[in-house]
Amino acid sequence: MTKKKIGVYVCHCGGNISDYVDIEKVKEAVKDEANVYLLKNTLFACSDSSQKEMVADIQTNELDAIVVASCSPKLHVPTFRGVAQRAGMNPYNYVQVNIREQGSWAHSDNPKGATEKAILLVKAGIARAAESEALTSSKIPAANVVAVIGAGVGGMRSAIALADMGTEVYLIEKEKNVGGHVANFGSLFTTDKMGYELSANLLSEVKKRENIKLFTNAEIVEKKGSIGNFDIQVKVDNDVLPLHVGAFVVNTGFDSYQPQQGEYGFGEQTNVITLPEFKKLIDNSSERLIFNGKAIKKVAYIYCVGSRQNDEGDNKYCSRYCCTAAIHASVQVNKKFKDVTNLHFNRGIRTYGKQELLYEESSKNGDIYLQFSLDSIPEITQKGGKTFVKVKDILSAGKEVETEADLVVLVTGMVPRENSKLASQLKIPVGRDNFFNEIHMKLRPVETVIDGVLIAGTCQSPKNILETMNSSMAAAAKINSVLTKGEMTLDPTLAKINPSQCTWCGKCAEACPFDAIIQTEFDGRIVAKINEANCKGCGMCTPVCPTDAIDLAGFTNAQIEGMIDALAE
């Protein structure tokens, strides 16, 4: 039934919208639209005071639908559905119109055009609201069980945190051993705790908890279902185990950048090694720092190898941990061995926060810092069996400096681990930097666009151990807060099949990315049926149906046609 009393709110978003879109013109243009009962503008529609006003408006005027013209629905659909609900209106009689991302921001160079576009979008939104239907969510049981993928220090920490909050955990590790990179590390910045100790402590905590089951040599081979109810097959050694989980915390970590053959002499000159190799050398040497039988007196560290690359390289990002890790290694060298000089060839030291103190300590130790830019990188040469590093040093007004070095340490960064199989199994989005991508960097940094698939640690972006722990525990807290209720609310914006019109051609099942369309019998015929637990309401099936037998709740054909009419006016 067409809605007759629609409330329309046009948001200024501070100035984000109103600096470019003429709000008064928008109001003037839509005030006579059919079914508009109330029309207001608001400085911030999402502010609590404005939400309260809307609740009061809906109740006093007995509105039967509302339209908010503001920002992206990704941001505020839950906010205004909540407003409708609190006012006693069905949340699905609310329509969001995006005049910011699709209006003011996209057309900041053309305010007149932005205003015209906003007017049409608002009119289309009103038409959609007029044909909107009340929908009811249903609830399904959800398993308070999480599969944590990757048993590095981050994954183990997620598992422990989840277990302590009452969630059952399957901790799934691809390798034979747990602890990842950190299990092989000695002293860690900024505490000087040993990496292998940290890893061992975490493993013993994992083992103490009955509600954590650890599988090593294990990987997921199959996944079905959606948040609250995933069914997975896990291959452990040569067995395949079926498991039922509510969600995933992906904590698969990073790979160390492997320099290319010849990059700063790597692979060609034996005394050019990577930072992880050097850390091992420090840990395994006592009294004297010896490499290939030769005492090391001068170490040259070359920073940003594999990070902050120019257009020819893949990695534009900063790897975050390496400046501090290299400086920490040089401080270790000074603590452990006498008379070693550290020369740091860097591109601007990034020991952010408290890590600055290590940089200070290294400078006080007499370490030498030389800075280069990407268009003039250090040259490593061999002369008479000796290694020389030459650089134009920014810190001494671009003077060319050449120095001998016994060992060249390439400060290698983090790169995303090759994980395409897992990424496609769980449909995890990957960002421009090829790390896994969160849904909202600021406010939801451990969630992805796939409900029930969370990411933590360095698979999301380079992080140090402290940051990895925080993100691993944050992911645990987030998913526990969802699953601990024991049930999930299903979004009612689902596809509906009209069986009398369906002829089962199978096109919809082919188009469905979520395996949500199954066959059923109706009047002695095979027809399509929606598996509601799997349907995400994406709408892929509706346009391919040759007999128009599918309607998507919230985006019905009547609504879409109404919107097209408004836009084409």
Binding site: C13, G14, G15, N16, L43, F44, C46, S47, D48, S49, Q51, L75, P78, R157, A161, D164, M165, G166, T190, T191, L198, N201, K316, Y317, C318, R320, G348, Y352, G353, E356, L357, I394, A397, G431, D433, H440, M441, K442, L443, R444, P445, E447, D451, Q460, L466, E467, M469, N470, S471, M473, A474, A476, A477, K478, S481, V482, T484, K485, M488, T489
Partner: protein
């Protein structure tokens, strides 16, 4: 996943206690911890000493490196916190004493400052502001403009109700006569409230460095030397003026300088560490200024650029490509010309020469300092600080949210300078640790 978040659930076994968790500080860290625990079913009391929740983030313009509008992404969080059935919020409330009892409960006394306005009756109409005769500096606009003695803290404040700044009030009664809902109440008194809780999260945030102590920069003497937080307000959607203006004469500036590391990496002011956010927020402001004032030159004087987080280096490169002029050099001194312009004297590291350059507005990229006053509230067991006066994290790498007191946890910039995503993750870690602790209880 968000759909079920507001369904309230009660996992509390509060019994003789009033709340499962007391969260001190309602900035983004406190809000995030409170929301996660409330979603898990615990009863949370969130106290905030300011008249509005939202902390510092709600006052920002846009945030790096996504350029999301800060108000737009915090208000839903603020509003969700305010409405959550398992969260009780008290503003203008300050913890006075916290004593850990033998039964492991915390006995908490906090002071509730009077608002002199009945919170539930005020409609936020601002009629009172129109009649109040007292004009004072607006601290939420970082003194760029004035407010009245009775005022709503800022447009998107939560709760959006008035309060009276009694120190500046003449008790003339004009507001009382004008108020249509009769909510002015001069008889309100300071109250002391005692409650019992099972756990505490300290989310007291940071203090901004006050550059008045660096005399050579002339802040407080030269009108056109402002702080980055003042620039943040000039760029915010709820900005005080409709354009970026310099204070001395209201001119739109066209040669703007940023001075990085003001109050950071500087032993002379007692803060040797890097503040972790200033390089990036300055880079963000430079990008916003290049958008708002396309003809303006923006120079950024830096020591090292700390563009370390996800997308940060790319954002820094983008600012350079847009024309931001990054100058490697530390400013020695600033002098003021008669027309209000400023001469910066610095060593240009690239040329190695001492150089002077004129700008018409200087923005000091002020750093973050530890806000450690909360420690004196803990009366019997000691809440320890680290050498830099941040809350000590005794098990930094394994359980970063635990403190020296069992049952007291820490979130966000109370532990160290950090940006918004790191704060949200640290707050999530604190919620996780607290929930684990509360589960042991039952």
């Amino acid at each position: 996943m968000e759909a079920t978040n507001n369904d309230s659930m009660n996992r509390s076994n509060a019994g003789t206690t009033d709340y499962d968790v007391l969260v001190i500080g309602a900035g983004i860290a406190g809000e995030e911890s409170a929301l996660k625990l409330a979603d898990m079913g615990f009863k949370v009391l969130l106290i905030e000493k300011e008249p509005s929740i939202g902390g510092k983030m709600i006052l920002l313009s846009k945030v790096f490196p996504t350029l999301d509008c800060a108000a737009c992404i915090t208000t839903p969080k603020v509003s969700e916190t305010a409405r959550h059935p398992n969260i009780t919020i008290l503003t203008l409330a300050e913890a006075e004493s916290i004593v850990k009892e033998e039964n492991n409960l915390f006995s908490v006394t906090f002071k509730k400052h009077p608002r002199y306005v009945v919170e539930n009756d005020c409609t936020g109409c601002q009629e009172c502001e129109t009649v109040c005769p007292m004009v004072v500096k607006d601290q939420f606009q970082f003194n760029l403009v004035a407010r009245k003695a009775i005022y709503i803290p800022f447009n998107i404040a939560n709760p959006r109700v008035a309060l009276i700044d009694i120190e500046n009030c003449t008790l003339c009664g004009a507001c009382e006569q004008k108020c249509p809902s009769n909510c002015i109440d001069f008889t309100q008194k300071e109250e002391l409230v005692n409650i019992k809780v099972k756990s505490v999260i300290v989310a007291t945030g940071f203090k901004l460095f006050d550059p008045i102590s660096i005399e050579r920069y002339g802040y407080g003497r030269y009108k056109n030397v402002i702080t980055s937080m003042q620039m943040e307000r000039e760029l915010a959607p709820t900005r005080p003026f409709n354009s970026v203006l310099r204070p001395s004469d209201g001119k739109v500036p066209d040669k703007i300088a940023y001075i990085f590391c003001t109050g950071s990496r500087d032993h002379t002011v007692g803060n040797p560490i890097c503040s972790q956010v200033c390089c990036m927020y300055s880079t963000k402001q430079a990008q916003l200024l290049m958008g708002a004032l396309p003809m303006a030159d923006i120079s950024l004087y830096y020591i090292n650029i700390r563009a370390f987080g996800k997308g940060f280096n790319e954002f820094y490169m983008q600012a350079k490509d847009m024309g931001a002029n990054y100058v490697k050099g530390k400013i020695g001194s600033i002098s003021e010309k008669e027309n209000g312009n400023l001469i910066l004297r610095y060593e240009d590291i690239v040329t190695g020469k001492v150089t002077e350059k004129e700008h018409d507005l200087v923005v000091l990229s002020v750093g973050l300092l530890a806000n450690h006053e909360i420690t004196k509230v803990f009366k019997n067991e000691k809440l320890e600080l680290d050498a830099l006066k941040y809350i000590k994290q005794p098990d930094l790498l394994q359980s970063p949210a635990t403190t020296s007191i069992k049952g007291v946890f820490v979130a966000g910039t109370a532990t160290s300078p950090m940006d918004i995503p790191d704060t949200i993750m640290s707050a999530g870690a604190a919620a996780s640790e607290t929930s684990g602790y509360l589960n042991q209880w039952s």
